[in-house]
Amino acid sequence: CSPYQKVLKNEEIKPKYEMAVKLYEEGLETGKNNRFKKTLQLLEQILPQYRGTPQGEKISFIYADSYYQLEDYFDAGYQFERFTKAYPTSEKAGEAAFKSAKSYYYVSPRYSLDQTETYKGIEKLQDYITRYPDGENVAEANTLLSELREKLEKKAFEIARQYYHIEDYKASIAAMDNFIESYPGSKYIESAYFHKLDAAYLLAINSYQYLVEERLETASEYYEDYEKYYAEGEFSTKASEISADINQRLKNF
């Protein structure tokens, strides 16, 4: 029987506490995962007894951080969140708030899946930045925050672009409009303006004859929107070509 096994099976809680703290510190020094796993096993047994005691704060933090070190970010996010709620005045509260937020950042899936965790991560990161404006992790928090926001932007933009790709131009225009409204600062904005123009143009020229003129005029307005902001933009050559064709066609009416 190793000393760890002995302590694990022991009824007394104090040796467990001491060994858990020791293993956790060893884990931080050596980076060995099994230290944190053992820490968690010990703490699970004694956490309820220590809840509400002066040592409870330290234990809760170690518990959450062990999950974090093990890269189990689902549990880490939740446990750090509990910690910040239970000990809002703790000196570790800032670190916990940041690690909780960062855990959600890690859990957030690729842009093409459900983004519930991303929204939560954004909320937590913003919360951290507001509460600890001088915190040591604010710079990183801002980076993570913009990364998560960019993910949401990409999601909305890609959905709008898929409508364009499957030639549902009406849906694409509406979705691009919603995108421009929701994410005005996004890096995809120029592309969104251009796709809106292109979709309106393609919609117009593939319409019934009696609808063509009106729709070309709408497309023409979209061109002006694009031209206003991105006269020198990435798509400006293509946009001008489309505009020229629109004008040519409109002359025939």
Binding site: R51, G52, T53, P54, G56, T89, P109, Y111, S112, L113, D114, T116, K155, E158, I159, Q162, Y163, H165, I166, E167, D168, K170, A171, I173, A174, A175, D177, N178
Partner: protein
């Protein structure tokens, strides 16, 4: 000063310094523990009353450990407040005893349903809900007089030093007698007979002839029954019908009688029906949908249904006429404007409202499936006119993808704005496991047979090079990848198939590719081992494309495929050819047209139909290759020692196979009552030759009978299920005119008809189970000469199917064949046969 903190208005809080903190009341917790938990510290400045105090109290309440919390304070000199926290701990449950009930199953159910586990906090609420739940359970079983008494008995915790409050719960159930209905008496009815009134009720009399029918009394059902009676009267013109009185008379402990008195009133007819407020549709258009004319017998139920049918979301009624065309905010009400003699005039008042357009359309809950796989299937898109029909259809089609739990797909309207005429739509999906694994080992055919099959139904091909995509496998692009390997002592077969439902992502063009390779060794009966020098190889593959059409409607799919198989024999006579060494090639094109509008659940369709017609054909080589197949035997090149050599002739005939095959299949699903579904199935198949002298090859033939499972075959045969007969037994048997030996080459024509009643036991996500009863018949023939569509081999039987996402479909059927098996001379009917069904959808 002694005040409960909650009683003081918050506004006039004053600042104090915290002095001594004490904890009183009934609690097993250490005083220091409680104080530390509150976070209050001696010397802290607080406002009384104030936020801090309420927070402390709320925090304690949130623990759910206390039944009462009071904070008292006394002010001493220098604005010091001494706090006293009085808490009452809720006792914990120690043990539950249930008496008066005989069934252990019920006891466990009560404990589970009410969470009566040791350690549960015993609150008044817990006791009350437990009592209600148990009483309700018995009353729903017909025990109206059931009485439940719950007592709490405090016990001492045996653990040393524990100060926990523990109680035992003693639940005493007095079930009483089951109450039955001895009579239902109806008075006042002249138009409807007593029987007709009773038929509207689900509450039934005791009747020894109908011993399987329950005759228990359930209050809720009884109330509903009365509504049903009135509804039936209303549907036959008796608008004023009502129940004047009803009474329940207790005959004795076990029996009650129900007395109902109805007043039927007069019979009415519809008068003029006018419309008010309609601008989008003309009166004439609305009348066409309403389908009620002046002079029709008044039918309140029908009128309601024609305006809005609550039972069918896709009904052809007035509300849906508006709802399917953008008028989300429309409201339709029928108002009686005049009643004269026996005629009622109606005015149908319509408020059309603005046309609503979808603004944001989002999908939530997809934690495996990528957006593009889902969004391309949406029929409701941003900027489009709202249509209820499209929402319903989208839900149905998302369910059919097989990636989500079809029963739990929920569309939700958000930010509905009648002024702007916009709404957002959110589809909530729950992913369900879409992959199947098959791993089998068994002893059969002279040795060990091992099978490994993997089928990934939501695969992502582009993810296979991305190591982050493996959890545990790249998923989410809606592609299917199946791998299967089967190995035994004397044969091995490998197959791989891949399909992408939206090739290029632009249109639903399904690409299917497959590859397979089989080696079969000769089984040496003397050594009881495979002879690896004598073998038969089949290697082949196919590529196919299928596209959903929009004309004539978008349930149609057209498909095409090319396939190729190479057969190679080395000193191996399989009975198909007259040559032991040689080869054959099967290159064919398949064209198909399918219409499928089955809904909602692909495992258990409740309606719709599927038709398919396919044609498979090879190039007509004999048209241009100039070979006179009828005269090969006279050609010296196909003779040995001056005699025609059947091996050489067959090698020439089957060098490149030449045939065409046409199949038709129709399936209808009809919902009979509730979930009871009737499946009707018709199938025909025909295999023909372009050149009669070259003949129909022994490949690609139809084998009728049995479970219809494909299994392992060398010759591209099609096995057709016909239960009640042994597998592949219903094929014409040739008898060699010279030797008298029988030869079973399979049929070139078959037909089959089948009726199947299905009833679901459960349609859960984890397991769908349904039972079925069937009657079917079919026959197969050697050629058109023998064809007789009415000379069927008939059978009937029953079975059950279980679908679990991880295993696919499993089932067993028992079929009784009424006709003798062809080729047997006894003339006895085939009799009962069991059939196991594995991994097949139908």
């Amino acid at each position: 000063l002694n005040l409960s903190a909650q009683d003081i208005p918050l506004a006039n809080g004053e600042q104090y310094t915290v002095g001594e903190i004490t904890v009183t009341g009934n609690t097993g917790y250490n005083e220091q523990t409680v104080i530390a938990f509150t976070g209050l510290r001696k010397g802290e400045k607080i406002y009384i009353p104030g936020d801090r105090i309420s927070q402390v109290i709320n925090k304690l309440w949130d623990l759910g450990l206390f039944s009462d919390i009071n904070l008292y304070y006394t002010i001493s000199e220098g604005n010091v407040a001494n706090l006293e926290l009085e808490i009452q701990e809720v006792p914990e449950l120690n043990e539950v005893t249930i008496s008066g009930n005989k069934k252990k199953k019920h006891k466990e159910k009560f404990i589970k349903k009410n969470d009566l586990d040791p350690g549960t906090k015993v609150t008044e609420n817990l006791i009350a809900t437990t009592r209600n739940n148990i009483e309700e359970f018995y009353s729903s079983e017909g025990y109206l007089n059931a009485d439940v008494d719950i007592r709490t008995i405090p016990v001492q915790d045996t653990l040393e030093g524990s100060t926990k409050q523990l109680v035992d719960l003693d639940i005493d159930i007095n079930v009483g007698e089951k109450v039955k209905i001895s009579a239902i008496n109806i008075e006042g009815n002249e138009v409807f007979s007593d029987g007709k009134v009773r038929r509207q009720m689900s509450t039934k009399r005791k009747n020894f002839l109908r011993f399987w029918k329950r005759s228990k009394f359930i209050e809720e059902d009884y109330e509903e029954d009365k509504q049903e009676i009135i509804k039936e009267y209303k549907s036959e013109g008796y608008r004023d019908a009502r129940i004047i009185s009803d009474s329940i008379i207790k005959k004795d402990e076990e029996n009650i009688a129900i007395n109902l008195k109805v007043e039927e009133g007069d019979k009415y007819y519809f008068g003029d029906i006018s419309f008010l407020g309609n601008s989008v549709y003309t009166d004439k258009q609305l009348k066409q949908v309403l389908k009620i004319k002046k002079g029709d017998t008044y039918n309140g139920t029908l009128l309601e249904q024609r305006i809005a049918d609550q039972t069918k979301p896709d009904a052809d009624d007035l509300t849906n006429l508006y709802q399917n065309n953008g008028y989300l905010f429309s409201q339709i009400n029928a108002v009686e404007t005049r009643v004269y003699n026996d005629t009622i005039d109606f005015e149908i008042r319509i408020r059309e409202g603005k046309v609503a357009y979808f603004d944001e359309v989002v999908v939530k809950g997809n934690d495996k499936t990528n957006d593009h796989v889902i969004y391309r299937n949406l029929r409701t898109r941003p900027g489009e006119r709202y249509s209820k029909r499209d929402v319903v259809r989208t839900v149905r089609e998302l369910g059919q993808l097989g990636f989500f739990d079809a029963q739990k797909l929920a569309p939700e309207f958000k930010n509905v704005n009648p002024n702007d005429g916009t709404l957002d739509l959110e589809y909530n999906v729950i992913e369900s496991g879409a992959s199947q694994i098959e791993l089998q080992g068994g002893y059969g055919g002279g040795g060990f047979v091992g099978t490994l099959g993997l089928s990934f139904n939501n695969f992502s091909l582009k993810g296979i090079f991305d190591k982050d995509a493996y959890h545990p496998l790249p998923m989410g692009d809606g592609q299917t990848l199946s791998l299967r390997a089967q190995a035994a002592n004397f044969y091995q077969t490998y197959s791989l198939s891949f399909s992408e439902p939206w090739l290029g992502g632009k249109e639903p063009i399904r690409l299917t590719t497959s590859f397979s390779h089989t080696v079969q060794y000769f089984y040496d009966a003397v050594n009881r081992d495979a002879n690896r020098d004598r073998r038969f190889l089949i290697t082949g593959g196919s590529v196919g494309l299928a596209k959903r059409l929009t004309i004539p409607d978008d349930y149609f799919t057209v498909s095409s495929a090319v396939s190729y198989q190479h057969y190679s024999l080395k000193n191996y006579d399989i009975g198909l050819f007259n040559f032991p060494d040689g080869h054959a090639n099967n290159f064919a094109i398949t064209l198909g047209l399918t219409r499928n509008n089955q809904f909602t659940n692909p495992i258990y369709p409740k309606g719709g139909s599927e038709f398919s017609i396919t044609a498979k054909f090879t190039p007509p080589y004999s048209l241009w290759n100039g070979v006179d197949y009828g005269n090969l035997e006279n050609n010296p090149a196909y003779q040995t020692n001056g005699q025609p050599d059947p091996a050489k002739i067959d090698q020439k005939r089957f060098d490149w196979l030449e045939y065409y095959k046409i199949k038709f299949k129709g399936d209808w699903y009809n919902s009979i009552v509730g979930d009871l579904v009737l499946r009707t199935n018709v199938e025909y198949g025909f295999l023909g030759a372009y050149n009669n002298e070259r003949g129909i090859p022994p490949f690609e033939r139809f084998y009728l009978g049995g479970d219809g499972l494909g299994g392992y075959s060398l010759d591209g045969r099609e096995t057709i299920r016909l239960r009640g007969y042994p597998n592949q037994s219903l094929t014409p048997i040739d008898r060699d005119p010279t030797s008298g030996a029988t030869r079973n080459d399979g049929a070139t024509i078959y037909n089959k008809y089948s009726l199947e009643l299905r009833y679901p036991i459960t349609l859960n996500r984890s397991a769908s189970i349904y039972g079925l009863a069937f009657a079917e018949g079919g026959a197969s023939y050697d050629g058109f000469r023998d064809f007789n569509p009415f000379q069927l081999n008939r059978s009937a039987g029953f079975g059950v199917r279980i679908f679990m996402p991880a295993f696919g479909l499993l089932g067993i059927d028992f079929g009784y064949g009424f006709d003798p098996i062809p080729g047997t001379s006894s003339g006895e009917s085939s009799g009962w046969r069991p059939h196991f069904i594995i991994g097949q959808q139908f």
